[in-house]
């Protein structure tokens, strides 16, 4: 059974204070690892897809990296508007053509002035 564990559950940063969120996973053959951002009361917003160890993706202040067992979402010099819950999900090779995702419970990030 695929599993995703995210840590920490919650993180409070001051504006400009860089940090990293962790996503550990076990999957029977990784097809892709996905990062989403979710604002309160909204649906998840897609951020990145990673599919092989060593891969990195960047978007503004966010950088996602992938190893064979975990992924990190690095947040550089965060701003208050980066406050949200960040979700990690994996898709295994045996899901056929459907993008069936197994999600972690997320890291709730709060960035203060």
């Amino acid at each position: 059974e695929d599993q995703v564990t995210q840590s920490p559950e919650a993180l409070r940063l001051q504006e400009g204070e860089s940090s990293s969120l962790n996503c550990s996973y076990t999957v029977s053959g990784l097809r892709g690892l996905f990062w989403y951002r979710q604002d309160p009361g909204k649906g998840p917003e897609f951020l990145f897809t990673l599919y092989s160890a060593g891969e990195e993706k960047e978007k503004e202040r966010l950088k996602a990296t992938l190893t064979k067992k975990e992924s990190f979402l690095h947040i550089t010099a965060p701003k208050p508007e980066d406050s949200a819950t960040y979700l990690c999900a994996v898709q295994s090779l045996n899901t056929g053509t459907a993008s069936k995702l197994t999600f972690g419970t997320g890291t709730r990030l709060q960035v203060t002035l």
């Binding site: 892709g32 989403y36 599919y51 459907a98 995702l101 419970t105």
Partner: protein
């Protein structure tokens, strides 16, 4: 560009009442469609997915059912709601381009069963 519409945004229903949540996708053909539920303190849980009209796969045995009457329409239903059906329901779509593809989510429906 592709867009996904999900309604209603919020719903309060009494126990034992029926349920119908609808989701439509625009700007793409033959998408894969999904229903997820997000309970407080838990990750998103896949409930149903569909790779084509009339094709429904259930991931979790429960009080709910899904239907896909048209290519870009996905419906989540229940004949009699339970208190445990409360949660945040999300519809999503993806396409198959010969490899993995990400799923894109609607804005969700907050269902409270009272």
């Amino acid at each position: 560009s592709q867009t996904i519409h999900q309604w209603p945004a919020t719903l309060v229903q009494p126990v034992g009442s029926p349920l119908s949540l609808e989701c439509t996708v625009e700007g793409t053909s033959n998408p894969n469609l999904y229903w997820y539920r997000q309970a407080a303190g838990r990750g998103l849980q896949l409930l149903f997915y569909s790779v084509g009209i009339g094709q429904i796969s259930s991931e979790v045995p429960q009080n709910l059912s899904a239907s896909r009457p048209q290519d870009r329409q996905f419906i989540l239903s229940s004949k009699k709601l339970l208190l445990s059906d409360s949660g945040f329901y999300l519809c999503a779509w993806s396409t198959w381009g010969g490899g993995y593809t990400e799923a894109f989510f609607g804005q969700g429906t907050r269902l409270t069963v009272v």
